[in-house]
């Protein structure tokens, strides 16, 4: 944190004045812009990831952003390139692993073991790169746990371009991807290219993870990818509503996290993750209570038995 933020950050219990105070600084405006773009993209991608039970693959794609960024800094280019190159390459690698158990849901068995092996090795490579760089250790912390300070307007534009591209592509393949995720056998029978969609989705997920990593850090990217989506899917079983909720929750926890980090001078990743975690716990408690409460559903006799 900077002394600049320290000097002025006092919470006045007047939300309008507080927001105005916070947004007087261009770096905070850019942080909100970047955070919002990331939350929207991660909310949508994460929703599909949770539905497809590919959280582990998503986690791996996020983690390999760390060696990517460290390697990029080592060779002297922008860390942004490192994030994207490594994440997308890892996505292609994970997608190339042959699925065990034909017709089964992806994400099981062999795939998980191989993904984990690659993840552990690349994480170690990241530490090697930082050791070779012999630079300031603060860079490692921000790669792992994120930083919202010093996001430039140019970076915001890059984030926006990536997010729009990813979301447009996902919109185009959305329905067949949903079909292939829920019901791969029937989808294949209808002529949906299940394998190709799986690869395409992982590449898009890699791009979204690379994007989110730059805000939350590679270790806390899960806060934005998995938590809003998991919370939304606990809250409702309607796909469209659930997807919208995932985005709304993502934006809400990002804004709350940024505000808290600004005024309390605490770490951003912790603040965002805490709000997302609280939302998830509340959703689970609410779901358990709703499931236990007596329902007033009209009981019907199954018609098939009467025929």
């Amino acid at each position: 944190m900077t002394a600049l933020a320290d000097a002025y950050a006092t919470w006045s219990w007047n939300p309008v004045a507080d927001l105005r105070q916070m947004w007087a600084y261009p770096f905070m405006v850019n942080a909100f812009r970047a955070g919002t773009i990331t939350a929207v993209a991660a909310g949508v991608m994460g929703w599909f990831m949770v539905l497809r039970r590919q959280s582990f693959a998503g986690h791996t794609l996020a983690v390999v952003g760390f060696p990517g960024a460290a390697g990029a800094v080592l060779v002297g280019v922008s860390a942004t390139y490192g994030y994207f190159v490594f994440c997308v390459a890892a996505a292609l690698l994970v997608a190339a692993v042959p699925r065990t158990g034909r017709g089964r849901r992806p994400g099981a068995g062999q795939e998980a073991a191989l993904t984990g092996t690659v993840q552990a090795f690349l994480l170690a490579c990241g530490f090697l790169f930082t050791a070779l760089y012999k630079g300031v250790l603060g860079g490692v912390t921000s790669m792992l746990f994120g930083s919202f300070l010093g996001i430039t307007t140019a970076q915001v534009w890059v984030l926006l371009a990536v997010a729009v591209t990813v979301l447009a592509l996902l919109g185009a393949i959305g329905r067949p991807l949903l079909f292939a995720s829920v019901d791969p056998d029937v989808a294949a029978g209808r002529g949906v290219p299940v394998g190709l969609l799986s690869t395409g989705f992982l590449v898009l997920l890699g791009a979204a993870a690379a994007e989110a990593s730059q805000i939350t850090g590679t270790l806390l990217v899960f806060a934005l990818l998995v938590m809003p989506a998991a919370t939304a899917q606990v809250l409702t079983a309607r796909p469209a509503l659930s997807l919208a909720l995932s985005v709304v929750i993502g934006i809400a926890v990002t804004w709350l996290g940024l505000t808290t980090a600004y005024f309390s001078d605490g770490p951003l990743g912790f603040a965002v993750t805490s709000y997302a975690f609280a939302a998830y716990v509340l959703a689970r408690i609410g779901r358990a209570a709703a499931d236990r409460a007596p329902r007033h559903v009209p009981v019907r006799v199954p018609a098939g038995g009467a025929a």
């Binding site: 919109g171 329905r175 079909f179 019901d183 029978g189 409702t236 309607r238 199954p302 098939g304 038995g305």
Partner: protein
């Protein structure tokens, strides 16, 4: 629908299979485990190519008939944690294979909702279609999946062991539902079955697959001691119980690797060296390839 002439020639599982199925017929595909019953369905679906011979489905090559073919794969069930309503799963059968984002104001939206409500009503699932599908019982899920296969008004319905993993009352109810759909909607049904008895009274024709070939005809023609003995080249006996159920004794196992199967709990006389594999299996169901 013109008569679908299906001739499949494969080297590995079966070959020289000749089969013609007429419009609106209810056909069961029977045979021992691992003989390639599901493979036959996948060839008809166009997911697997036929190694030799010619296959025509609804007058087109397999996989070209598009939404005129409904398919229900063999499966256990949906994951209990899958948070999607039954209605949404049925809806995937309606437009799940279309690219792009549906426009909320498009005219097809109301028609889609109406058709989905109709087909859910047809299978008798209206009472629970709005609940998450992972929380429903096997019989309820199976009804919704039949609705999904039916939603685009197919002319041919390919069902792979739809009665598998259901208890006996649900087997009877789902069998009755499929028979009713075949009769009232005029849909041709081709159903892979393990046990012919729940659907015996509704069948127009059975196809009995064996290693090497197949016979087809009415149940009375095919499920006889003489026909099956000729097909398997080993003594096979068909018995009829007092309540009209058929029991096949002495049917050889295809060279599949199923060592975990249960033997039927009926004290049957096993002919020759062949392993006993009675058709009726009641509620017990083992793993199948």
């Amino acid at each position: 629908m013109r008569d679908a002439a299906v001739r499949v020639g494969g080297r590995t599982l079966w070959s020289d299979v000749r089969l013609d199925v007429g419009a609106g017929e209810f056909v069961a595909v029977l045979g021992p485990n691992g003989v390639g019953k599901s493979t036959l369905i996948k060839v008809l679906l166009g997911v697997l190519p036929a190694a030799a011979g010619e296959v025509r489905v609804l007058g087109a090559a397999p996989g070209r008939a598009g939404d005129r073919v409904g398919y229900l794969p063999q499966r256990r069930s949906f994951d209990a944690s899958l948070r999607m309503r039954g209605l949404d799963v049925v809806r995937l059968g309606w437009d799940g294979d279309r690219w792009g984002v549906p426009l909320p104001w498009s005219s097809g939206r109301r028609a889609a909702a109406q058709r989905i409500a109709d087909v859910v009503e047809l299978v008798g699932a209206s009472g629970y279609a709005h609940r998450p599908i992972g929380m429903l019982s096997g019989g309820e899920q199976q009804r919704l999946l039949i609705a999904q296969a039916l939603v685009r008004r197919p002319r041919l319905l390919l069902l792979d062991e739809p009665l598998d993993s259901l208890d006996l009352p649900n087997q009877a109810a789902v069998a009755a539902l499929i028979g009713r759909i075949c009769r009232e909607e005029g849909v041709t049904v081709m159903m892979v079955a393990h046990d012919v008895n729940p659907i015996l009274s509704r069948l127009d024709r059975v196809v009995y697959l064996a290693e090497g070939g197949a016979v087809s005809g009415t149940p009375a023609e095919v499920i006889t001691s003489e026909t099956l003995t000729r097909l398997y080249r080993t003594p096979v006996e068909v018995l009829r119980t007092s309540d009209g159920r058929l029991v096949v004794v002495g049917q050889p196992e295809a060279p599949a690797h199923h060592t975990d199967r249960h033997t039927p709990p009926v004290p049957l006389v096993v002919e020759g060296e062949a392993e006993s594999a009675g058709i009726p299996r009641g509620a017990s169901g083992g793993e199948r390839a």
